[in-house]
Subunit: 352 residues, 2 copies
Amino acid sequence: MNPKLQWLRNKMNGLDLQGIIISNPVNIRYLTNINAEGVLLLTRKENIYITDARYIEYVHSTLTLFDEIIVYDINDVSKDDYENFFLFCENVGFEEHYVTYAEYKEFIRKYKINNLVETEYIIEKQRMLKDEDELKNIIKACNITDECFKHILQYIKPGMTEKQIAKEINDYFETNAQGLAFETIVASGENTSMPHAIPGNRKIQNKDIITIDMGCTINGYCSDMTRTFFVGEVPEEVKPVYDLVLKNQVQTMQDFKDGVSTRLLTKMVENDFKLHDYCLVHSLGHGLGLEIHELPYISYKSDTQLKENMVVTNEPGIYLPGKFGVRIEDTVQITKFGCISLTNSEKNYIVI
Amino acid sequence: MNPKLQWLRNKMNGLDLQGIIISNPVNIRYLTNINAEGVLLLTRKENIYITDARYIEYVHSTLTLFDEIIVYDINDVSKDDYENFFLFCENVGFEEHYVTYAEYKEFIRKYKINNLVETEYIIEKQRMLKDEDELKNIIKACNITDECFKHILQYIKPGMTEKQIAKEINDYFETNAQGLAFETIVASGENTSMPHAIPGNRKIQNKDIITIDMGCTINGYCSDMTRTFFVGEVPEEVKPVYDLVLKNQVQTMQDFKDGVSTRLLTKMVENDFKLHDYCLVHSLGHGLGLEIHELPYISYKSDTQLKENMVVTNEPGIYLPGKFGVRIEDTVQITKFGCISLTNSEKNYIVI
């Protein structure tokens, strides 16, 4: 059996679950490599994937005997089959954060389950720890992101619109990676004061400040990087803000390591910003992998201990409404004694 | 109060609901015009929209006094506020097909609701019937789709890839409409045998058959049209299949009218296809509006009576695996005594 399914079976034993229903397609992709529409059932003895005619051929070509997954066409699954899948199972787990209330009731009716048990993100929590293959994909996505940034610095000229620059980045990722990890952000001038700015028709001008937040995917795995840079010169009023953001991004990098509390990390940056009369309005970072935002969240709201082989972002930012904003973000891999930055574009003042 | 909220309040009275929680953003947009992240509560006396700091300014600019909606920043809503919203409400509705099981449990805890009641797609069912403004948006999206098709027939030349053609369509919609209603399908040659083909690197050749399925949005409202056409000439083997699909698309158009059963419509096409040894492998059509696929579904699986001012697609198709496929689709508005096709591109043999 593949090691991820084996891990889940061991976990189920510990939780006294005799079966589990996995509906979240990202979790299914994580466990099986299957990227389709369907449901994964781990019953007492078998691993079963139920899909429809559109995907059967693809699913068979993705799986190997080693996976030990039996594939069903949903049209061939009878009422009795559904009732037999979890026969003699006392407790069957389900994903309460993904399954709708209507589906939950349908599960009880269809599978005739005694006790449907909430599984509290067990798979999402395991997904925080990346294995070698996952790391390879993320590293490749990060490398392409660095290359794209180099390209885009050469490409940008005054007179271009934010939209035009975003399109060039998107085309680069479509060609050199397997797609976008999220909608590219290109904000210029006063638009940089909005953390989630949508690229618009504003034209790049001399002396502009520009923030670009971008990422691509390789085999489903994401990268995420932000740089704030300048056209012609660095405005004097921006310098102290840029320096403060950069100082915090570089200093916290020292503390991104196995065993450190995500809340503590956030507090450190928040406190330093407050000392200078600024606020940290969004979280300091987030996990990423098959999703661009996944566990752990690095903010004051939640507390997780960073662990070796987690991959997270480090992205402090300061935003002055109507004026400008600065954000500097890297994707980093946590190690036993520190972290490795997987995106490595220049962070000191960049002037184009 | 805006007429859609007034309609919902009347509906709630009839269902003995003293309150309702609307979570589905499409339903919220339908009822209020708000296109953001948040939750809409209809309590005994008030309409309340709770959102966060990112959207407050936008939401205020979207609403008018006439809407009678009170907007809250989620950070200003206390534990007591949540408990007071539905005080003295016996039954409070929620969207069981959208709300996860975890959110359902959170609703009970947070709002202290006696009886959370499933609302069985009440808003989605109302959304089937389009009002004048909704029809205007859909008609505009359909007109742009027809224009785009004219443009693309001029644009396509042998040697171009499916991807390149899809990109031209997408750019056209980005420029002339407000975006894509769904991922554009451009399939050529044997790829046309897959109803959901993804545009690839196959190059258009002389004597090719091409299927394009495309739609755009105006103020959130979708259009949807498919045409199958030919490069240089219509292959003899395709003609009988094309003729059969077209005959059925044109004939059923006569029967798309108020009072007709969607199952019956589907059966008619299925039977005619079977008479010629072909199958209808997907549904005959679907409603569209703020979503590209919404109620009613026109298939043998469900039965709905078509009603005046529903907007649905009529899209019979025949697919011969490994050979070719033909689909012809229009967006149509149901009227009292018939229907109006809102997409009007040529349906007889098109040869480029």
